[in-house]
């Protein structure tokens, strides 16, 4: 008996320690006083990067977390293409544009400029900065863009792609899309020209984000055993002897052995950062150092280290100073609470990002396929506000219900699009209206509705639960039909009434055409509406922003009126940084917090 009492006491003490540790994580940094006035330094006025004026690279190291290993200098092959690889390579390459904090396309004039010199037929002229050069001294030229085009245009058989569906010669994540639109390739006077044009075969609405950062043509040429000029000629003449060697190197040559920093001779860079010699420890970290040959605004801090750390370990590592900036994937309520407990020592920045959650009806079969009333009945009973309040706001307090599909609540044109397309009727639950429509649709009490999503996903399970407790009152019987192979089996087979998942926004204007038009490749539910199809066609075949702004509300309104599905919310994102740093801001784009990594600096004001 004595023992039992004692052990109970210790057990209580032990579990008390758990609670205790949860409430009292102190900050790792000793001097909380200087954590106050960081926000003032160069707060960006718009979504694009702030102009910091003259920047001199300061000694020091900023440690950032990413959750998986660095793979390859060439992040454009499907093997190496991942969020985490991009996080590193994005710092190594300059490009004509980047995404601002709300997904706006911002141009980088350091690198070059581009403009449409003719609208129809579309002609885009790119002009590189005269100083733009690889870190080995070779200028960035037309030749590099010729190689970029080749990698996105030439098929295995040595032809320029016809419709983009052939097997490509180069293993590029973008497939053959560029060759499809620009079959002639970039045009310029000489291989070392700094200016070139793309002559589009047909209008491409997303021409503004069609340029990838190029890989070095002079390196590929050398590896294929020819000069840069000869490589350009080989591409123009589709000389497969040279191209096969070039593609072989392009596909495999840059894949790194973990822990071995790529040889600078084959991996020159054009961005503010470069690899650091011996700066990569497999499974642990990779360090980049400021590119001393960079012609533009230099990086604010000399070294940027990416440590490969899972989301659960990041917060304590930030508190202990092992990390300076963190961006935990899949943030939960715990993430924000724990970060708040660190107090002044860290700056926390929550936002909503370009991934959004939605409920889509199945138009191929089931009770919602042919009955607008049934869809309306369901839409009236889905507790959208409650879902946002209970599940999203605790993570990102600024979260709101999302009432559009192609624009996000934090974007400038959101209000205009929503006010023109939707009157707010599904914002709050209206059980009476739902019951009315339920009866009008001729549905009977206990009508089964399977909501399918990819398991396991606790948040979606909670969403379905909320929907069930509301919609069951109307007469539906909501069934949580989560399954690990939802996308593999249930979705293509149509074994669902409502699908619950998220689309990740790509920043493209016309990518929604695949989802909402007939027969879009990603239109899983089989929705079809003439008005929507036509509006998409008009939108995607124009480069005029006025046309885009005109067609978008038409599409959105029709999708609301016919109820393609119900948008719920934009996913919340959380970043945190040591309060000793300035200029660390969250971004809705896929780059996340790293969008302006070269501007991060230690706070020198205090």
């Amino acid at each position: 008996m004595k023992i039992r009492r004692l052990s109970a006491a210790v057990a209580v003490a032990a579990s008390g320690a758990l609670l205790f540790s949860a409430c009292t994580s102190p900050a790792g940094n000793d001097d909380p006083a200087d954590g106050e006035s960081t926000a003032t330094s160069a707060a960006a006025s718009g979504p694009c990067k702030a102009d910091l004026g003259d920047v001199e690279t300061a000694d020091g190291e900023i440690k950032m977390s990413i959750e998986d290993e660095f793979l390859s200098y060439n992040g454009l092959t499907p093997e190496a293409y991942s969020v985490y690889n991009s996080a590193v390579v994005d710092q190594l390459f300059g490009n004509f544009y980047y995404f601002g904090t709300d997904g706006t396309i911002c141009t980088d004039e350091n690198y070059g400029t581009y403009e449409a010199i003719s609208e129809d037929p579309l002609q885009v002229q790119y002009t590189l900065n005269d100083e733009a050069a690889w870190s080995d001294g070779t200028p960035v030229t037309y030749a590099d863009y010729m190689l970029d085009w080749a990698a996105r245009a030439i098929t295995e058989d040595g032809k320029v792609t016809d419709d983009g569906s052939e097997t490509p010669l180069f293993n590029h994540i973008d497939g053959l899309s560029l060759g499809d639109y620009v079959p002639e390739g970039p045009q310029a006077d000489s291989p070392d020209a700094k200016s070139f044009t793309y002559d589009y075969e047909r209008v491409y609405a997303d021409w503004k984000i069609h340029a990838y950062p190029p890989l070095p043509a002079h390196v590929v040429a050398e590896q294929a055993g020819v000069s840069t000029e000869e490589l350009v000629t080989a591409i123009q003449e589709l000389d497969m002897d040279v191209l096969k060697d070039a593609a072989e190197f392009w596909n495999k040559g840059w894949l790194s052995k973990p822990g071995e920093v790529p040889d600078p001779a084959i991996a020159p860079v054009t961005g503010p950062y470069d690899f650091k010699a011996d700066g990569w420890e497999s499974g642990q970290y990779i360090t980049l150092e400021a590119n001393s040959e960079y012609w533009g605004t230099p990086a604010a801090t000399k070294e940027l280290t990416f440590r490969f750390i899972g989301a659960d370990a990041q917060i304590q590592a930030l508190a202990n100073g092992d990390l300076d900036v963190i961006q935990p994937s899949g943030p939960t309520v715990d993430t924000t609470t724990q970060l708040e407990q660190l107090g002044d020592a860290v700056n926390v920045d929550t936002n909503q990002n370009l991934t959004w959650e939605h409920l889509d009806y199945n138009f191929n079969s089931g009770i919602f396929a042919d009955s607008l009333e049934a869809r309306e009945a369901f839409a009236h009973c889905v507790p959208r506000q409650k879902i946002v309040d209970d599940l999203i706001k605790p993570i990102a307090p600024e979260a709101v219900i999302m009432n559009a599909r192609e624009v996000f609540p934090f974007q400038d044109n959101y209000e205009d699009v929503v006010s023109a397309s939707y009157d707010g009727r599904y914002d709050e639950v209206d059980l009476d209206a739902a019951k009315e429509k339920f009866e009008a649709a001729g549905l009977k009490e206990g009508e089964k509705v399977r909501i399918g999503y990819a398991a396991p996903n606790p948040r979606r399970a909670a969403e379905v639960e909320a929907i069930k407790s509301s919609c069951d009152q109307v007469g539906f019987e909501i069934i949580d039909s989560a399954s690990p192979d939802f996308f593999d089996k249930d979705l293509p087979n149509g074994d669902y009434e409502v699908a619950l998942f998220a689309w990740a926004g790509s920043g493209q204007i016309a990518s929604g055409e695949n989802i909402y038009s007939t027969p879009g490749t990603q239109n899983y539910g089989g929705y079809s509406d003439e008005t929507v199809d036509e509006a998409w066609k008009t939108l995607s075949s124009s480069t005029d922003e006025a046309v885009h702004a005109e067609q978008l509300p038409i599409i959105e309104k029709q999708l609301w009126d016919t109820l393609y599905g119900i948008p719920l919310f934009a996913h919340p994102g959380v970043i945190a940084s040591s309060s000793n740093l300035v200029n660390v801001h969250n971004s809705a784009a896929q780059t996340g917090v790293l969008w302006n990594a070269e501007q991060w600096a230690a706070n020198t004001a205090s």
């Binding site: 499907p78 093997e79 202990n320 490749t521």
Partner: protein, 538 residues
């Protein structure tokens, strides 16, 4: 209570067990050991083969390797899916893919190992080597520590069965054993890393902390040593006084930021260790062993005096290993020279003493570098990673950095293993202590030390060998969570990442390493049995 049932059951068990063990032993008498080992390896290889097939099939069917692409709205999603399907051979049957993998592994026997590539096109063989070395680094120290501490605790609790100390150890063993690792890791990071780092920035104890720490130390020591109430009181009070004075002195000297030990410290601690080792192994009455141990310590300290400049100015791993080997040879030689009638005991004593003295020497050098290490890394204990990125200190600072990085995961792994080891040792020791021959040994007038060390302990070790061997094999796989929470990319990460991506190659590599480790350790345990148990050797 529950422990009481040990007596009759173990007694009758032994009666039955002995003849049967004899039979087994004599049956294997005609077979050479080599044949036995080969047969074991052959059988294990078959089991591994079957298990590998099962594992492969389970892995490739554990999910959808295209899942991330299915949810993507990339315009050329279909092309990407086709590309990955072809690269990972998803259209081929599981059989074909397994056969392909197996032939790659089969190449290992002809010197052309191919464990395949990951979903990212990275060579798995290379990846496995890196992961295995990282995991081994992580678990070797903790396994050794766990064996030493666990076995020692087990023996002490068995000798002092049903004492307060026994209850306390039993309770903490169960507590640590049932501890969720990720939660314990969070606590460790909070208190042993974040809070400690905050504290070491100043490095001074508050007076009340000193009082509490001294009280605690006094209480613990009297519980361990035991005795009459009066003796306990004296022990407790003396410990309290000693610890309190020591901690105040540390404060005054700023010891925690400028620790020093000095050659005198090495001498005193090593000599004390030497006496203790002698007392345990040979008995203090064996004066030759005692003098041998003390000679070893003195020689060691004199050697330290001469090699110190070398150790401080031109350190390298090679030098350290070389010196260690030399010190081991010299200490054993001292033991042999002093030995006399009990040469073997003496050599064991001096050998152990020599190792302890070497450790003390290294500890002294490390302490001397602690302050400069703090200068390079102001928050010494990290919560993640196996090394500080871009750490550029001197040799000893790098050693300290590796030590501080490995500290937390080692503590965690050790705690969990100590719990099991101490329990097994305790029950095995209790069983042995109740054997007839122990009673006989006592009745013929042997000292308690001889009874426990020579008669009971050695026999109690036999079942523990199996546990330890298995534990080591299991730790390689079981460190998955520890690796994850402390950001070590070892075998655990290999397995986990592979499984998440439904990528069979890394999962199978993990299986190969852990499977082979289990088989080898099991074999090793059998061989160790033969060395420990004379009945099997015969």
């Amino acid at each position: 209570m529950n422990g009481g049932s040990f007596y009759p059951v173990s007694y009758s068990d032994t009666l039955i067990a002995f003849p049967s063990r004899r039979r087994a032993a004599s049956a294997s008498k005609g077979q050479p050991v080599l044949k036995f080992i080969l047969r074991r390896i052959g059988a294990s290889a078959l089991v591994l083969l079957g298990a590998s097939f099962l594992m492969f099939i389970l892995t490739v069917n554990s999910g959808d390797p295209l899942q991330d692409l299915r949810e993507s709205n990339d315009p050329n999603r279909d092309q990407l899916m086709a590309e990955r399907t072809e690269r990972m051979r998803l259209d081929d049957s599981d059989w074909e893919r397994y056969w392909d993998w197996l032939s790659g592994v089969g190449g290992c026997f002809t010197g052309s190992c191919d464990l395949g590539v990951t979903i990212n096109g990275i060579d798995v063989l290379n990846l496995t080597q890196q992961a295995a070395s990282s995991t081994l680094r992580l678990i070797t120290l903790s396994t050794l520590l766990a064996i030493v501490v666990g076995v020692a605790l087990g023996i002490m609790t068995a000798i002092r069965q049903y004492s307060g100390f026994d209850y306390a150890v039993t309770f903490s063993a169960f507590l640590f054993f049932s501890l969720p690792v990720f939660w314990a890791a969070t606590l460790l990071k909070e208190y042993a890393a974040i809070q400690y780092n905050n504290w070491i920035a100043v490095g001074q104890y508050a007076p009340w902390t000193i009082v509490i720490a001294a009280l605690l130390a006094g209480f613990l020591l009297q519980a361990v040593l035991g005795g009459s109430a009066r003796r306990r009181l004296v022990t407790g009070a003396a410990t309290f006084g000693f610890v309190a004075v020591l901690l105040f002195a540390f404060n005054a000297l700023d010891w925690w930021r400028n620790p020093m030990f000095g050659i005198a410290g090495v001498l005193v601690v090593s000599a004390a260790a030497g006496v203790l080792v002698t007392a345990l192994v040979a008995g203090l009455r064996n004066r030759r062993a005692l003098y041998a141990a003390l000679t070893t310590v003195v020689v060691g300290v004199i050697a330290y005096w001469f090699t110190a400049p070398l150790l401080v100015n031109e350190p390298s791993w090679l030098l350290l290993i070389g010196l260690f080997v030399v010190s081991l040879v010299v200490s054993v030689a001292i033991g042999a020279a002093w030995g006399g009638y009990a040469r073997k005991d003496s050599m064991l004593v001096t050998g152990i003493t020599g190792v302890i003295t070497s450790i003390m020497v290294v500890a002294d050098v490390l302490m001397a570098h602690w302050n400069s290490f703090l200068g390079v890394k102001s928050r010494p204990i990290s919560t993640i990673g196996s090394q500080t990125p871009n750490f550029n200190g001197e040799f000893w600072e790098r050693v300290l950095d590796m030590g501080t990085q490995i500290l937390l995961p080692t503590i965690l792994l050790t705690l969990v293993s100590v719990a099991t080891h101490s329990r097994y040792t305790r029950s095995s020791m209790l069983e042995t202590l109740n054997q007839d021959y122990v009673r006989t040994a006592r009745s013929k007038g042997l000292s308690e030390r001889e009874v426990i060390v020579k008669h009971a302990f050695r026999n109690a070790l036999i079942p523990i060998t199996t546990i330890v061997a298995f534990d080591f094999a299991a730790l390689i796989g079981g460190a998955i969570i520890t690796e994850q929470v402390f950001g070590w990319k070892g075998m655990g990460a290999l397995f986990q990442d592979g499984l998440r991506a439904v990528d069979p190659a890394p999962v199978m590599a993990f299986f190969l390493v852990t499977g082979i480790a289990a088989v080898l350790m099991n074999l090793l345990a059998d061989i160790a049995y033969a060395a420990l148990d004379p009945r099997i050797r015969r």
